[in-house]
Symmetry: C2
Subunit: 112 residues, 2 copies
């Protein structure tokens, strides 16, 4: 599912016009971001990334009772949602929170 990110509403406001937020579009954005944390394993991953302010690499697997491939899948979902970004750093990949989208999630939930 994972709400398609190719939603073409665009009928609400023009490019230059502020138009706070088209209801449908913000609904899909919120759904996408909520979907990212709609699994306990991903919640734990997100919290881990936030607590360790620096990027985290393989430690994530050690903290979770899941296979490495499964954790990789969750990380992929988190990356696709935009809540997490990963950067290659030599032999390992370091993940960190995307603060912009985390703020967006907080704002969208907070304004419910």
């Amino acid at each position: 599912m994972a709400a398609n990110r190719t939603s073409k509403k665009t009928a609400c406001c023009s490019d230059t016009n502020p138009c706070p937020l088209p209801p449908d579009q913000s609904a899909e954005q919120l759904a996408t971001l909520a979907w990212a944390i709609a699994h306990p394993a991903r919640v734990r991953i997100v919290r881990l990334l936030i607590s360790r302010n620096t990027c985290v690499c393989g430690e994530i697997v050690d903290e979770m009772p899941l296979a490495q491939s499964t954790v990789s899948q969750h990380l992929k979902i988190l990356k696709e949602s935009g809540l997490v970004q990963g950067e290659v750093d030599g032999p390992r990949v370091c993940y960190c929170i995307n603060p912009e989208n985390l703020s967006a999630l907080k704002a969208l939930v907070g304004s419910l």
Copy 2:
């Protein structure tokens, strides 16, 4: 990597009980609540229920481009998550937000 057990423990509880709420539980609670709004249709339903402060009955179906059975399914999911509660009122069922769990969702997301 199980070397840094000491710094992993955050003070999740401080009262009489020896931590009856392990991090997993709050992760599951957040995942459950996030799952409730992890679909655009459910986001719209939740927003509709919040905007109309009174309970809403069949109007939800009219506002959504979905079949009645599908909307009923989404409402069932929202009820199971605890974010929405429904009360029988004569021949119809009236839904309203469960403010307690909505606050819990906001708090959990906000404290990320």
